[in-house]
């Protein structure tokens, strides 16, 4: 059975640039969809992308059916690369131009996706968003090799430097994926101007909405523009058959959104009752304005999310709120309290609605609960961003200070802090007799079970240690035991993995044993709680030791990274020098003259010169590049 495929695409110049160097193909007749992102400056970027677009389009139209989709797309992209490369060679002002491409060819239910560069393809299936392409950038390759951390990639100075593109050479190394489409699937192709300026959560929420494809494309582009719009933005959405919208979603979109909207004033009243207007975030506003601005916008965001079947509006609302407040140096607790106030106000509305229509109230409650999860992750993103900025500033200051001091006795990196390691509060007293009895029974039973790990002895020791921590009231117990268990280990799979395996196996065996031993439910819950706390304390303490052991290597890596940065700066300087030399000694090949004869034309006024002396006739190394 074939699927009814429908594609929608649009492109926007963005909020900063003057020209749009992106190009796109949306051709339902031939099942061809593509996004291209040109580069090269001096208006060469749009030349590259439009030329490649035209070549790919023509190639596919001319040979559709003659070649298998995979070979067809690969050949079309290679033809485009040759065309762009040839154009760049012919025109000096277009040298270095190139383009990315992500193209999708649909044949029945089969989608073939090919890409070069950092334009991406995503697939939404069963509510989950899958990225289908890996960026061809220097930074992505460094991440893949483990040279830098994934989170460093977003802030890396070379994050936009491509490792592959169309036009650099006559042929391109194309990555091709094939997949079988299922009814309700959504494919999205985009340039980096979209995913670089709209968060991945926003992309997921918008693509997963039940809106028509054209509306989703518009919303995606708007999300990128709201995020700064620092680049050209292009997006194509391809729907494979109609989405099967669950009945509950339909009810929410119609009755749910209507019921919520009808109770907007009730929400504002509840927000006032919960003191939302007294939040420090609203300090400069009169109470009515504060309620209208904060609770009103929250109510509107929830309404739009119910109507569209997403949570992107609540997410955006909280992200803006958090960015504004934390950006001004505000602390987290007032923001947290404000979010709690809004959540309680929404609960009040749901309680009222439950008396009238319990089923509908249940659906709205579920949607709101999910939206509040998004609210937390939106705030988390902003908090993490602030944390990274402050850490970067600390590192910068430390580097400055280190340079200033001839003899550094206490460097910042010499005493690495271990972030996010907080000891769990220990139970203050030893377990009650019945719980102790249960724990003892569980210990014996766990030791009698076959170990789900290869190192039986380590497993048995770990079971004993977890038992000791669970029955002890000493906070230092876990740290001492962690040292004993960690002993002398190599920081690799042979060293650390068996330890964590033994921890996992001991935890699982203990928990199963508690469930199996006879005893009262309350006692079992208390025993489970003590065991889980013991496990957490032990694994935290061991993790602390691992992080501590890794610290010297981390410092060595930092030193290597600094050396690499210096080398990169040197390379950039040399490249600049090469470019200057090329401009200075620019030459072209005149087709009318015998092959190999090169003439210096100068920069401004082309003129024919006498053939240079024989040794200089050979192109210099710079011109060969």
């Amino acid at each position: 059975m074939t699927l009814a495929i429908a594609g929608y695409g649009d492109s926007h110049v963005g909020a900063v640039r003057d020209t749009n160097e992106d190009a796109l193909i949306v051709d339902g007749k031939w099942g061809l969809y593509a996004v291209l992102d040109g580069m090269g400056g001096a208006s060469a970027g749009d030349v590259a992308s439009t030329k490649a677009r035209d070549v790919i389009h023509e190639y596919v139209r001319a040979r559709r059916g003659a070649l298998a989709p995979r070979q067809l797309l690969e050949a079309a992209i290679n033809a485009a690369s040759a065309a762009v490369h040839g154009e760049a060679q012919r025109r000096r002002d277009r040298r270095g131009m190139g383009t990315t491409v992500v193209a999708c060819l649909i044949d029945g239910r089969r989608a073939t996706i090919a890409h070069v560069g950092d334009s991406r393809a995503y697939l939404l299936r069963d509510g989950r968003l899958h990225r289908l392409t890996n960026d061809h950038t220097i930074v992505a390759e460094l991440v893949a090799r483990g040279a830098i951390k994934p989170e460093e990639a977003d802030r890396h100075a070379y994050k936009n430097v491509l490792s592959r593109n169309l036009g650099a050479k006559a042929t391109a190394a194309v990555d091709v994926n094939e997949l079988e489409l299922a009814p309700g699937d959504r494919l999205m192709l985009c340039s980096d101007g979209l995913y670089g300026y709209a968060s991945s959560e926003a992309l997921h929420q918008l693509i997963a909405s039940t809106d028509a494809g054209a509306d989703v494309v518009r919303d995606l582009i708007e999300a990128a523009l709201r995020g700064g719009g620092g680049d050209n933005v292009t997006a194509i959405l391809i729907d494979a058959g109609a989405q099967a919208v669950p009945r509950a979603t339909v009810v929410l979109q119609t009755s749910g959104a209507g019921a919520w909207w009808a109770r907007r004033e009730r929400l504002l009243a509840a927000a006032r009752a919960y003191g939302v207007h007294r939040s420090p975030l609203c300090a400069m506003l009169p109470p009515d304005d504060a309620i209208a601005l904060v609770a009103g916008n929250f109510a509107d965001a929830v309404y739009h999310d119910l109507e569209k079947g997403t949570s992107v509006n609540v997410w955006t609302f909280v992200e803006n709120l958090a960015a504004g407040w934390l950006g001004r140096g505000g602390a987290w607790p007032p923001l947290r309290d404000l979010l709690d106030g809004l959540a309680r106000s929404a609960d009040a509305v749901i309680r009222e609605l439950r008396a009238e229509d319990a089923a509908l109230a249940g659906l709205i409650e579920g949607a709101l609960a999910r939206a509040m999860v998004n609210a937390e992750t939106a705030a988390g993103g902003v908090l993490a961003l602030r944390l990274r900025a402050v850490e970067a500033e600390l590192v910068r200051r430390d580097a400055e200070r280190s340079r200033a001091q001839a003899e550094v006795t206490s460097k910042f990196i010499d005493q690495p802090t271990v972030p996010f390691m907080r000891a769990v509060e220990a139970p203050p007293e030893p377990p009650a007799p019945d719980v102790a009895q249960l724990l003892e029974g569980a210990r014996r039973r766990a030791l009698g079970r076959p170990a789900a790990t290869q190192d039986r002895a380590l497993f048995a020791r770990t079971v004993e240690h977890i038992h000791r921590i669970a029955t002890s009231s000493s906070e230092a117990e876990a740290a001492v035991i962690a040292r004993e268990l960690f002993d002398v280990r190599s920081l690799d799979e042979a060293g650390v993995t068996p330890l964590y395996d033994a921890l996992d196996a001991a935890r699982a065996a203990h928990v199963d044993a508690v469930r199996a031993v006879p005893g009262a439910m309350a006692g079992k819950v208390a025993a489970l709680r003590r065991l889980a706390a013991a496990y957490q304390r032990l694994s935290s303490a061991i993790t602390g030791l691992v992080v501590e052991a890794v610290a010297p290597s981390a410092e060595a890596l930092r030193t290597a990274a600094a050396a690499t940065a210096e080398l990169r700066a040197q390379v950039a300087k040399n490249e600049q020098r090469v470019a200057d030399l090329e401009r200075k000694f620019a030459t072209i090949i005149d087709d009318d003259l015998p092959a190999g004869m090169r003439f210096d034309l100068g920069l401004d006024k082309p003129r024919r010169a006498e053939p240079p002396p024989l040794p200089r006739r050979r192109p210099s190394k710079e011109t060969q590049r």
Partner: protein, 147 residues
């Protein structure tokens, strides 16, 4: 088990289905988990499901906070920021809620409980990041700008 909400038993029953579903969609959970082997990914997801199960059974926030701290610390050692860890925890819980909705479409109690658990987890990560941020801000404000 008497005294424990019915959705706890439902969650335990659905654990195998949730694990299978997580293995199917692991590439969409996070770019870091996408690079793990299926066994490694399964172990990571199992740890989160186990913590969720404990939270649903005991309702003990202190215990859950301990798990969240360890999880964030481990991901930090792997080079992932706390916001990445937060999104990963939420994504795993989301998949569990999705399975619950699909298997029991007329009873939303388990899915709702999982959403609340996800919010609580995300909140705990935010508290952790905020603590760290306050400490770092203190270092910035200290004389000399460090420590």
């Amino acid at each position: 088990m008497s005294g424990v909400p019915a959705y706890v038993a439902a969650f335990e029953e659905l654990r195998p289905a949730i694990t299978t579903r997580l293995a199917e969609v692991r590439a969409s959970l996070d770019h870091a988990i996408a690079r793990l082997t299926p066994d490694q990914a399964r172990a990571l997801c199992d740890a989160v499901l186990h913590a969720l199960s404990t939270l649903l059974v005991t309702g003990d926030h202190t215990l859950h906070r301990g798990f969240v701290h360890s999880f964030v610390a481990l991901r930090s050692a792997e080079g992932l920021g706390p916001d990445h860890a937060q999104r990963l925890l939420v994504a795993i819980t989301d998949v569990a809620a999705g399975v619950a909705k699909a298997r029991t479409p007329t009873d939303g109690t388990l899915a709702l409980a999982l959403h609340h658990a996800a919010r609580l987890t995300a909140r705990m990560v935010n508290d952790t990041i905020a603590d760290e941020l306050a400490r770092r801000n203190g270092q910035l404000a200290a004389p000399g700008g460090l420590r």
